[in-house]
């Protein structure tokens, strides 16, 4: 099965069957990734460019590895340090890259909607690796796969997403995906970090961790985006940890077999207790990283399948 759209710009355009197909394919890649022979030739001869307008180590490494395991020629461009500083616009950068005939463009940008804009101007498939506060689709997909593996299903689960919702693209993509797969989503965080009108998006909203975690199957912590904060959203880190940081005591309100997730990188002692993050009875944070590579392989395989079909047709 191929994706209906040419690009993967967000979870919003995906139908439930597309999400399931992506996760099924990723599951197979995850199995192969654990084996000895990791390399395939599914993307052999294709060029993948990772263009990161915002610094990132983990996501960029994950995409690079995913592309290499599929046999693509992978190039990394850290645009944050190069032509943007010289005043080149996003569209010019896109056109320049387009002239090099890539097949896959993986883009991260600090402005919401920037990846949509870029996708309009290029002939290849575009994969959104995070745009501003808007979407981060592969993160939501890898979270979904991790949940499905841990819980055996991806529906009728109670998921609490906690922390800095306002500045988080991870929260938005996860909210959309989990709603679409018919789960019960709760957003938990201080009112200053809760976007306006989010209650109308089909979720419960609370500023009380205990209430939000009550009976949860999944507790998803978000990074407190210090670099995004204009200042003054919370009184201090220690008060934030006291009220919203996940520790063993707060986790008691969730189901006994609840899993704990974090998209990384973690601020230990700010949004999550260090010991809890390493507690393999609850924490699936390392599995998330593992599933990240598999999900990105699946997304790239399906996008290039559509691309090849379009070119052949």
């Amino acid at each position: 099965m191929a994706l209906r759209a040419r690009h993967l710009l967000g979870i919003e355009p995906l139908a439930p069957d597309e999400i399931t197909a992506l996760l099924d394919l990723a599951e197979r890649h995850a199995g192969r990734n654990r084996g000895g022979e990791k390399h395939t030739a599914l993307l052999a001869g294709l060029t993948q460019i990772n263009m990161f307008f915002e610094p990132s180590t983990r996501t960029q490494a994950s995409f690079e590895l995913a592309g290499k395991r599929l046999g693509a020629d992978v190039m990394n461009m850290s645009v944050a340090q190069s032509s943007v500083k010289k005043g080149e616009t996003l569209i010019d950068t896109a056109l320049t890259l387009n002239a090099m005939h890539p097949d896959l463009l993986v883009v991260r940008h600090p402005a919401s909607g920037a990846v949509d804009l870029l996708a309009e101007k290029v002939a290849c498939a575009v994969l959104n690796a995070g745009d501003g506060r808007h979407e981060h689709p592969t993160q939501a997909l890898l979270d979904a796969l991790t949940i499905r593996r841990a819980k055996g299903r991806l529906h009728r689960l109670t998921v609490a997403i906690c922390g800095d919702i306002a500045h988080s693209r991870v929260a938005r993509s996860n909210l959309i995906l989990l709603n679409r797969m018919e789960n019960r989503v709760r957003l938990v965080g201080p009112p200053t970090l809760m976007p306006a009108g989010v209650g109308e998006l089909g979720c419960e909203v609370t500023d009380d961790m205990r209430e939000g975690l009550a009976g949860a199957d999944v507790v998803m912590m978000l990074r407190l985006q210090k670099e995004r904060m204009d200042g003054g959203f919370i009184p201090s880190e220690r008060e934030y940890y006291h009220r919203y940081g996940l520790d063993a005591e707060k986790l008691l309100h969730a189901k006994p077999d609840a899993i704990v997730m974090h998209p990384g990188p973690m601020n230990r002692g700010v949004e999550i207790d260090g010991t809890l993050a390493d507690d393999i009875r609850h924490s699936v944070i390392q599995q998330q990283v593992e599933m990240g590579v598999a999900v990105r392989m699946a997304a790239m395989e399906m996008l290039t399948a559509s691309l090849r079909a379009a070119r052949a047709g």
Binding site: E12, T89, L90, I91, H109, A111, S112, G113, A114, D116, L117, D131, G132, R133, H134, E135, R169, R172, P195, A196, G197, V198, E200, L201, D230
Partner: protein
């Protein structure tokens, strides 16, 4: 030379009527309504089409000085004439801003040389629109300024604003304010709510407009200044506006055509032509504001014509420049409200011609003998699909690109002189 209009559907906002009749123009002014057309007059057979006072558009930005590549007086004038706009009340947010009599004289001279329509400039309220010192309001009034405003920059220092308002009151000058709490709206490019949250765009609460408005009303009450709100776009501000008027403050309010005909969802997938200041609002706000225009609470409809070149708009939504061109689409877009049954034609022309002319001290906007013969002939029924590249403005940043519009301007006259369109000219009998 005399000019007669036969078989016209006369839209008279002053009398509030919409009826068949004739109109006679002599010496650039309206000479008679409904009288017989004399033999020596050149007669235009209107064939039942609408004849109304030309629009008076408050808050038009022209790129002179500083951004002539976006809009010159010439292109703005052509666009206005094509849109049935016969008077432009221009904004001072140019580069440099219109904050001295010298710059104002430059603008007036350029306008006179280049445009077929009337230009009435506003001047800045503070020097450099910096919000620190008031401009030479007396000299600027003498040089032709019709009002004072820092456009979308809010004067946040209340002491500076109070003094400027007091001084303006002494001169009898009108101040145009932008009701907005700048602390709340800083960095925002959408109205906060479900849409902005889903799209990940920084939003501003509608309450920011109310707070800004309430502050300004306090200062108006204190100083007795004559004051006009450039745009009231939120339902929450309307009770405060009603109160201010009931309390006898010399206050009026406007709204842009975009806030009357579009809502926040029109932004869709980050379409930057829909990025305006203030941002488009929720549908409930749009409906409330349309009702406020119908009730006469909001006095003036304007285009907030803000030309932006392609480069300023081909950017991620947050980084793109705000504003939309509107001179040519003001009337067709406003006719959406007429076709939807929200406003009658006399009500529309009251808000787009009579009220702005009165508020800014201009003789236009009426169909009465003695008024200047600034006229627009239009067919409210003709449908069209807008192609932005057919616009006469140098900038093509219209949110109505590809939109179905109903209503077309057939011809425009300024002081009895045709400035746009071709009309069937028939000799009167005898």
């Amino acid at each position: 030379m005399m000019l007669g209009f036969a078989d016209a559907r006369l839209i008279d906002p002053e009398a509030g009527t919409d009826r068949r009749g004739t109109l006679l123009v002599a010496g650039g002014r309206i000479a008679a309504v409904d009288g017989p057309l004399p033999g020596e007059a050149t007669v235009i057979d209107c064939a039942g089409k609408c004849l109304a006072p030309g629009l008076v558009d408050v808050g038009v930005q022209v790129g002179e000085p500083g951004a002539r590549h976006k809009e010159s007086f010439r292109s703005a004038g052509l666009a206005a004439a094509a849109g049935g706009v016969t008077t432009l009340v221009t904004r001072p947010d140019t580069d440099p801003p219109i904050d001295s009599p010298e710059v104002l004289e430059f603008v007036t001279r350029r306008a006179r040389a280049e445009t077929p329509v009337n230009i009435r400039p506003m001047a800045a309220l503070t020097k450099g629109r910096a919000g620190r010192e008031m401009t030479e309001m007396g000299f600027l009034l003498d040089a032709g300024a019709v009002a004072f405003t820092d456009a979308d920059r809010v004067v946040s220092d209340t002491r500076v604003l109070t003094r400027a308002m007091s001084y303006a009151r002494g001169l009898g000058a009108l101040i145009l304010g932008h009701p907005q709490e700048p602390g709340l709206s800083r960095g925002a490019c959408a109205t906060s709510g479900k849409f902005a949250s889903l799209k990940g765009l920084p939003g501003v609460a509608p309450m920011a407009e109310r707070i800004g408005f309430d502050r300004d009303m306090g200062l108006v009450e204190m100083t007795g200044a004559r004051w006009h709100a450039d745009q009231i776009t939120c339902a929450r501000t309307l009770p405060a506006l009603e109160r201010a008027k009931a309390n006898g403050l010399d206050v009026t309010a406007g709204v842009s055509i975009h806030h009357l005909t579009l809502n926040e969802f029109d932004v869709g997938d980050y379409r930057t032509f829909f990025k305006v200041t203030p941002p488009l609002r929720a549908e409930a706000d749009r409906v409330a504001v349309v009702e406020a225009v119908a009730a006469g609470l909001i006095d003036i409809i304007c285009s907030m014509h803000t030309p932006q070149d392609e480069e300023s708009k081909r950017l991620p939504f947050e980084e793109a420049a705000p504003g939309a061109v509107g001179l040519e689409t003001l009337l067709p877009a406003a006719l959406r409200l007429y076709h939807a049954g929200a406003l009658s034609l006399p009500q529309l022309f009251r808000a787009m011609a009579l009220n702005p002319a009165r508020r800014f001290g201009l003789p236009a906007g009426r169909l009465s003998p003695g008024a200047p013969a600034d006229l627009v002939l239009f067919d409210p029924a003709t449908p069209s699909v807008l192609d932005r590249f057919t616009l006469r403005s140098k900038s093509k940043n219209t949110p109505f690109d590809g939109a179905r519009l109903q209503g077309r301007v057939l011809a425009t006259w300024v002081a009895g002189v045709p400035v746009h369109g071709e009309t069937a000219v028939a000799a009167a009998g005898g």
